[in-house]
């Protein structure tokens, strides 16, 4: 029954990837920019959650909400300051700016608090529940529940609200959307806000689950989440969820087979295979779904 346990671990990891991947995929869908700074928003979310829990003695849910709110604001600031001027610039210029923003966030954090890691306080009860002979920690279940709730909320926002409709319209055709009276700038900011809030949530969940956070922690999960977004078909919201889960499970299986040092390579091998064989990703066909 060890396999079931590994599967649950994989799904927990995958749901974190999926939460980050959603931000990548939404931003890419709407302005065709790989927001490299997204992984660092995830890191900031983890640190905001840490300070909320450790310094202000808040519980898990208040910390989660504070982190999501602050990350949403940070996301909008990044978009307004750095990316807004680059709407009509070349793709390379936009990509380099995104890399610059990413480095700036990382090293500003290191500058102010040092590069030392921080141990996340235990805020969720950690008991093992035995299901079908596999012992599954209550934290995994909690994380999964939070992720599912956030994803349902996102689906609701994208498909049932006015701003969601605007987001879908802008991602489909920004010029036509502008002609129809949609405020494109505000819609893009809203997309950044939602994506960054999800990254913030992922940061807090990551901290609680893995208990160790550091200023450069966002880089690798950020890249892997991007892989997940490409795997699922970039621009597609269900694709990001499925891609994240698949990636998490594959990584956990590679570790479980005893190749834990090759774990990081697995993600990039998947990326290259998918880019070469089917660049549109698993859900690439339903391009109209993208946001």
């Amino acid at each position: 029954m060890e396999w079931l346990q590994q599967l649950v671990n994989g799904i927990s990891l995958g749901s974190i990837y999926a939460l980050i991947a959603l931000g990548y995929t939404m931003v890419y869908g709407i302005i065709k920019l790989i927001n490299f700074a997204h992984g660092d928003v995830f890191m900031l979310g983890a640190f905001i959650g840490f300070y909320a829990i450790a310094r202000w003695d808040l519980g898990f849910f208040p910390a989660l909400i504070i982190s999501m709110l602050l990350c949403a604001i940070i996301g909008v600031i990044i978009e307004r300051v750095a990316y807004k001027r680059l709407r009509n610039a070349t793709r390379i210029a936009a990509l380099i700016t995104a890399i610059g923003v990413s480095l700036l966030i990382e090293y500003t954090v290191i500058f102010f608090r040092g590069a030392s890691p921080e141990a996340y306080p235990e805020v969720l009860p950690n008991t093992s529940i035995s299901i079908l002979g596999a012992s599954i920690s209550s934290q995994s279940i909690m994380i999964l529940a939070v992720t599912i709730v956030l994803m349902i909320l996102l689906q609701f926002i994208v498909h049932k609200t006015k701003i969601g409709k605007a987001m879908r319209a802008v991602s489909h055709d920004a010029d036509a959307a502008r002609l129809m009276g949609i405020n494109v700038d505000n819609t893009i900011s809203a997309t950044f806000a939602i994506g960054s809030a999800l990254a913030g949530a992922a940061g807090v969940i990551f901290g609680v689950y893995y208990t160790r956070i550091e200023p450069l922690m966002g880089v690798l999960p950020g890249l892997k989440a991007f892989v997940a977004a490409v795997l699922g078909g970039i621009g597609s919201i269900p694709g990001a969820m499925v891609g994240g889960l698949v990636l998490g499970v594959v990584e956990t299986i590679v570790s479980a087979l005893g190749y834990s040092l090759w774990r990081d390579a697995a993600a990039f091998v998947i990326l290259i295979l998918i880019l070469i064989l089917k660049p549109s990703g698993i859900f690439g066909k339903n391009a109209r779904e993208k946001v």
Partner: protein, 312 residues
């Protein structure tokens, strides 16, 4: 005629620089610290110029250049430390294997465009790094001990050859093919240019010289570790090219020289260095997206002045 004039001019300039620096080293004016900075500068110029041919000339956005540097470094280190070969042979071995790696990576990934290509090259570079991390023959994560063999002469000869080959390539028929791909891939395809072929050629040449730089780098320090060649190193190289101007060889060279000096002064404040780097990157992209020099070369600045004068 004009081209060969520039060629000899460059060669004379190179000889003069070499003679002056060598004289200062022999005369004891430059101590080991400054010599090390000079070698570092040469390595960075080679890296910048070798990435320039991929990004600046051909317009293919690669952010995995450190991977090829790693191949050159490790292969040459194996050649000298394990096989007992001499340094020049090791450098050539490292460069050739690195070019082969570039060919292997380039053929599948150069079918991709823009952002996807960038991510694919990043992925390949990370895979290369993880392979070296997991091979015990080259020391794994602990790294590999390498004797210090690089001298100023090796580094400088490397730079001169790199610049000469890449400048000549850019001015050749093949180079023009690459430039046309940068300007408009569809149009150049329609004109009968084999775009895939030229992209792969440029990428392979770029990885060859990244391998040379890696080999010289490996023998400049006493140890090489896989973490040295992570994506931050790739970004470092990218910054030289972007800051200098996408498409300007002299721009990339000047940026590499300038940033090496800056980072040498900020060596004790690595965070400040990275903050300055990233701010420079953002500001340059926001206010001057073509980089400081654009696609102009430093020589064309003088020519421009002459032409303007004659017209009036």
């Amino acid at each position: 005629m004009k081209k060969s004039k520039a060629f000899w001019g460059f060669l004379v300039l190179a000889l003069v620089i070499y003679a002056v620096v060598q004289g200062m080293i022999s005369g004891g004016i430059l101590d080991l610290y400054y010599q090390n900075i000079l070698i570092q500068m040469c390595i960075n110029i080679m890296l910048a110029v070798s990435l320039h041919i991929v990004i600046g000339v051909t317009g293919q956005f690669s952010i995995g250049h450190a991977g090829f540097m790693a191949v050159g470094a490790y292969i040459s280190a194996i050649a000298t430390m394990k096989l007992g070969l001499s340094l020049p042979v090791a450098i050539i071995m490292g460069a050739v294997i690195s070019a082969l790696a570039g060919l292997l990576v380039g053929i599948p990934s150069l079918r991709l465009k823009g952002d996807y290509l960038a991510i694919a090259t990043l992925g390949f570079a990370e895979i290369i790094r993880i392979i070296f991390l997991n091979v015990d023959y080259v020391g794994g994560a602990a790294g590999m001990v390498v004797t210090n063999m690089t001298t100023w002469t090796y580094a400088f000869v490397g730079v001169v050859i790199t610049i000469l080959v890449i400048a000549n390539f850019t001015n050749s028929r093949h180079g023009r093919g690459c430039i046309s791909i940068r300007e408009d891939e569809i149009a150049s395809d329609a004109m009968g240019i084999n775009t895939t072929y030229y992209k792969v050629v440029a990428f392979t040449i770029g990885s060859f010289f990244a391998g040379v730089a890696g080999a010289i780098y490996a023998h400049n320090f006493f140890i090489i570790q896989p973490t040295t060649f992570n994506f931050l190193k790739s970004f470092d190289i990218l910054i030289y090219v972007v800051l200098g101007g996408l498409g300007s060889l002299s721009g990339a060279t000047i940026a590499a020289i300038f940033l090496t000096i800056v980072s040498a002064y900020l060596a004790n404040f690595p965070e400040t260095r990275m903050i300055i780097y990233s701010l420079v990157l953002i500001i340059v992209m926001l206010y001057r997206p073509t980089g400081l020099m654009g696609t102009k070369e430093i020589t064309s600045l003088f020519k421009f002045g002459k032409k303007g004068g004659s017209k009036v």
